[in-house]
Each structure stands twice: as C-alpha cells, then as structure tokens.
C-alpha cells in the first residue's frame, strides 16, 4: 500500500511521516559517524603526526562503529546517590534537541522534513534545549565535577546564544526571510552590487557575522577553545563524567551530530546551502534532487573542517575569559555589522 501511494506521488500524511522519521533515524547517527571518523580519528591523527586507528575495517574506517558496539555492551552504571530518573533522561533530552535541529535543514528544494516559515528561529530555539539536558546531567550525577561542568555549560551556552542570534539576524535581514529554503533562494539570486557576474553567497557580505557565528558555534558545541564544561584535564569530563556505556554513546552521538547540524546551518546561512551559484534553483529543480545533497554535504564538510581544525589546535580559555569574549568582542562586532547590513539593505 505504501509503495502504491508512493508511486502515486501523492502519499498520505502518515506515510510521509513514517518515511521522514526513518530517514532521520538513519541520517543523524550516520552524520555523527562520518564526522567522528573523518575528523576525530583520521584528521586529528594526521595533524598530530600519528597514524590513528588501523585495524577495524579498511584503513581503520570502521573503528567508531566498533567503539559504538563496545559502548552498547558495557554495563549501564548509575551512581548510588544520583537522581536516577533525571540521570537517565538527560542524554535523551540532549539527543532530542539534536534530532530536531535536522528537521529544518533543506538538502534540496523539497528535501526537507519540515519547511517551517520560521526555520532559523526554530533552529536557534531548539538548540537551547540541549542546555537543559546538560544541566540535568550535571545536577543528577551527584558529582562535584559534573555539577561544575553542568553549571559552566549553562552559563556558556546562554552567553553565546546572543552573538549567535545576532549573527543570524544579519543574514535574515539580507535575505528578508526566516525560512531556510527562502534564505537559500535569496543567496542563489543575490548579485553583489546588482552585477550579474557577482552571484555570491552571503559569506562575502556577512564575513564578520560568519566569524561570530562560527565562534558561537564552537562554544555551543563545547569544543576547544571553549570546552570548559567538559575540560578533561581539569573537570575530568565535566557533566559526562558519571556516564558510561550506552548513555555516554548518546552524548557522543549528540555532540557530533550537533556539530554536523550546526555546520549545515552555517552552510545554509552563509555558503548558499544546497545551491550552487549560477545554477538557478527553479530552472534546475529536478537536477537539485541529486546535486543538492552532494553540494550541501561538501559545504558541511568544509565548515566541519574549520570547526575541528580549531578544536585540535587551540588551548582552552578560562570561564571568565570566555564570558568577556562574548560580551566585549563578539556582540559589539555583530551589532556594528548588523547596523551596516540594515543600512545597506535600505540603500540598495
């Protein structure tokens, strides 16, 4: 019945929903695997002049899969004095926020789970939900290191929401829409100074905003140099210190899938998403069914490379220095560029 309706190309609501859920359940862990293997295992070891995993699969590419299986076999330990229910729920909350981030990410004009009119707004709102999960994990672990990690994470993620929102607002003003597909279309038809030859993505006009967005992303993902909440050499592992086995795997999955999702949002906002310059979306709508996902994936890998490059190179800030950077540096930059964007929008 499902097949018949699919061939009809007018499937019932529940059919599309089931398909979307299945695709999401497949895509989200896969993205985490890809980032983990390509960057965490392979690129990191090349950067640090070592060989990295070798044994599992061809060139060690299945190492993360083997690790995942190992994590699932491990005992699920809950500390004695932990708040059991909250402790067990916390990784789920974090993972749910990750899943919902993927919902608004378009891979082609119609290949999107939910084409919300306020897509970017939804993404920013839903990414804050992970803070609740992290705070739950930190508090429920009944561990001082975990508590400090959780509180640090809350302070950091809230502080970096603002520069991130401001960076996005610059793009939204220029595109004139909050819809992700609309932003892609706006970049596809955007010509700098109205010249036909300068069909460029928004990164050219919003370069400072791109910088602010990437810095805020790094903080949002709690990656070095903003990894104080996990800080393995001081807080041991912060809020994940008491988690083992499958629940730790969920945190790991959420971290890398969120990195992928944020790279996807950055690619959509600043690099033109699934569209290529000079290849019109409406004219080549059928072509984009195949071209779109590939282009988006390439752009995401490019941005993920930036994220992980910084992660492997820089030492970590201190908590107060992090707040200072957010309030004295990133927010003023984004406010100034916001004003410039608004004026330019009115003038042209």
């Amino acid at each position: 019945m499902i097949l018949a309706e699919l061939l009809d190309l007018d499937p019932a609501y529940w059919t599309t929903t089931v398909i979307k859920i299945l695709v999401m359940a497949l895509v989200v862990p896969t993205t985490a695997l890809i980032l983990g293997i390509v960057f965490l295992f392979k690129m990191m070891s090349w950067m640090q002049s070592r060989v990295g995993p070798q044994e599992a699969g061809p060139k060690g590419l299945l190492q993360l899969l083997a690790d995942g299986v190992k994590f699932m076999q491990k005992e699920d330990i809950v500390p004695d004095r932990a708040d059991r229910f909250v402790f067990k729920m916390a990784p789920m909350v974090v993972l749910v926020s990750t899943f919902l981030l993927f919902v608004i990410l378009p891979a082609a004009p119609d290949a999107v789970v939910a084409d919300l009119p306020t897509g970017v707004y939804f993404a920013l709102a839903i990414s804050s939900v992970s803070v609740i999960g992290v705070l739950m994990a930190g508090w429920a672990s009944a561990n001082k290191y975990a508590l400090m990690g959780g509180v640090r994470a809350a302070g950091q993620l809230i502080a970096y929401e603002l520069p991130m929102v401001l960076a996005v607002v610059g793009v939204v003003i220029q595109a004139g829409t909050l819809n992700m597909n609309g932003i892609v279309a706006a970049q596809n038809s955007f010509h700098l100074f109205g010249w036909e030859v300068l069909n460029v993505p928004f990164i050219v006009t919003q370069l400072p905003m791109f910088f602010v967005f990437m810095a805020a992303t790094q903080a949002e993902l709690t990656q070095p140099p903003f990894d104080m909440p996990v800080a393995e050499s001081e807080l041991v592992s912060g809020y994940t210190v008491e988690y083992s086995g499958f629940r730790f795997l969920l945190f790991f999955l959420a971290e890398f899938a969120t990195a992928f999702a944020f790279a996807g949002i950055a690619a959509t906002l600043f690099l033109g998403g699934y569209a290529l310059p000079f290849v019109d979306i409406e004219q080549y709508a059928d072509l984009y069914w195949f071209l779109g996902p590939a282009v988006l994936f390439g752009k995401i890998m490019l941005i993920s490379f930036l994220i992980f490059w910084v992660r492997f190179t820089y030492p970590r800030f201190r908590e107060d220095q992090l707040q200072r950077i957010a309030w004295k540096f990133l927010i003023p930059i984004s406010l100034v560029w916001l004003a410039v964007t608004a004026i330019a929008k009115v003038v042209w």
Partner: protein, 392 residues
Amino acid sequence: MTAPTESQQLAYIAQQAADSRVNLEFETDEGMTLNIGPQHPATHGTLRIVAKLDGEQVISCEPSPGYMHRGYEKLAEVRTYTQVNTLVNRIDWLGSFANEVPFILAAEKLMEIEAPPRAQHIRAILFELSRIANIALFLGDLGAQLGGVTAVFYAFRDREFVLNQIESVTGGRFHPNFDRIGGLKDDLPKGWIAETKAAMEKLRDFCDELETLLIGNEIFQLRTRGVGVIPPEVALSYGLSGANLRGSGVDWDLRRDACPPGLPYDKIDWKVWTHPDCDSFSRSWVRLQEVRESTFIVDQLLDSIPAGPVMAKVPRIIKVPEGEAYVETENPLGAMGYYVVSKGDLVPFRVKIRSASFSNVSIVPWVCRGVYVPDVITILASLYFILGDIDR
C-alpha cells in the same frame, strides 16, 4: 585489661585519620570541598589536592602527597652502593639518569676518587639528554593540561630521538642504570656522536615548533600570564629550585654556581635563562629556553670529548669509608641532593634524598589562594612535578 569502648575506638580512629590527613575533606565549614586527585589527569600521578571552593574560586587548598611512597631512603640502607643506583633511577622517572649522578658523586666524594675526564664528559652529556627528555615532555604536557592536545603528541614524537640516543649508549630507555662509582659502565658506541648531533638538531626544531604552537599562542598567554605569581623572596623562602626559581627572576643554577667536581660544566660556554615575570608563563618559557640551551651544551660537550678510559681504578668490592657527604646537582626538576652517611660498610648507613618536586609543590597552598579552578591546573602544570620525585 578492659576492652576499649566504642567511643574510645571511634576517637582513636578519628585521631588516626586526623594524623594521616586523609579526611581533609570533612574538615570544611563552608563552601564546597573539591578533591583534585589522587586520580586526576592534572596531577600526573597520584598527588591529591583538597581545595575548598567558593563557586569557582579557591579559598584554600592543601596538597596531600604520599599515595606513591615507595620508601627508597629506607630501602637504600639494605642495598650496596651499586644496587642503590637501580633504586634511585625510579625517583624522577622521566629523566632517570639525572637521578644517578648526584648519588654517585656523593659516593665518589666519600671514597675520594674522581672519574676520568672522558667519563665526566659522557656523564654530563647523558645528564643533559635526560634533562631534555624530561622537559620536552613537560612542554607537551603543558599543552594537554591547558586543553591543546596536539602539543603532547609532538613532544612524545621528538622525545623519542633523545630516548633512542640514551638507549643506544646505555641499553635502557627509561632506567639506564649506567653510572658507576669511578666512571661509567661502558664507552660510547660507534657513530653515536654524529647521531646525537642530528637528534639535537631535531630537538631545536621541536623547540621552535612549540614556541609558535603553544608558548606564542594568544590563548596560552591569556591563560598563563599573571597566573600563579611567585615573587622571588617567596620562592626562595619555600625552597623552590630549578626553572621555578629562575622563572621568578632569580639567577641561580647549580650547574654554574656550585657545580660539584665530576661534571665539566665550567669548561663550556652556556647561558642561564631567567624571566622576570614570576608567573606561570615565565616558568614555562624558561623551561623551553633550557631545553634549547641543553642541546647547545650537548653539542659543545660532544665536540670537546677527550680520549681515555671511562673507568677509574676502583676496588672490586666497593666499601665506602666512614663519613658523611652531601652532593647537590641541578636536575631537570630542580636541585636534587643526596646526603649519604657511611659507616664503612658495603651498604650506606643512611641516605637522605632532597628532591626538587617536594619543595616545589609545597608552595601550592600559598600560590593557589583566590585563584579559579582552571588556574589551579595551570599552576600545577607550570610548577611541574613528578610524583615519584615528591613521594620517593
């Protein structure tokens, strides 16, 4: 005799606990007590630091060493002088040859013999190589403590060149056990001098690399500058030594100022690095310069190595005449000394080890007041201790 009552037993246990300072965490009245260690990545070993916190700020903290006490001073009393050599190798395990030198020099001083010039030269070369092997790892570890994991892999990679050279001459990578009373176990292998010079070249490249990757990094400087300031007079009063003292601006180096006979440091041209800032950054910077300076020292020593035997005439069975001697040298971690008391036996009557890390860590309560928790890690990393060197 009546059996002790329960309250007496409890009082006894409480007294014992208070004596051993194990339950420091229960003595707090306000704030949160955070146990850093004994198993914590920042304490590279089993040092325990009990910190009382107000939010993220440290009100007071106290190091609680002793989790790795191996009793070398006592063990040395039932070992012959050559056997003690094997023991003291394990004190500072990153630069183990350097531990042998002061002990052997103290024994030589008591026996009134001196190693031949060639042996003295090779001794000094190995002494410097173990310093490089030790501090190179510190520089990498500093990065790991501050969150930059890449530096530590570079350190392990380039330290290997030094360890290979130590291995090819002594046969042991970590615990050479090569120094003997009156000289050395063996001469250098063929081609070793050229190989070592090439290794020194690589180590200088490593220093340049770390200077740009880590020491010159803005975030590293933000984290370390002005953190853990130890003024010179405080440093002297706590008995700091080595790079920690030179990082406080005190121009003091035992290799230059009070070099015991048997090490040819007066025959070469080298420089003692100091830094006037007295903070964590200056201590790290001084250590980096020291590694580079050590490579130049090794180069000079290799050039001027004299011919001759590597062993003086010593009796087959070593009996050290009655007397007392104290010899102190500038080890990788700071001043390390052995006070050897002999009663004319095969074994020393008493050996007191003055290790650098024990004094260096004693300043932690003073310097860690009012800092943030991440700064505790920075300070511990920049003070640089080896657990074996604290607990012995």
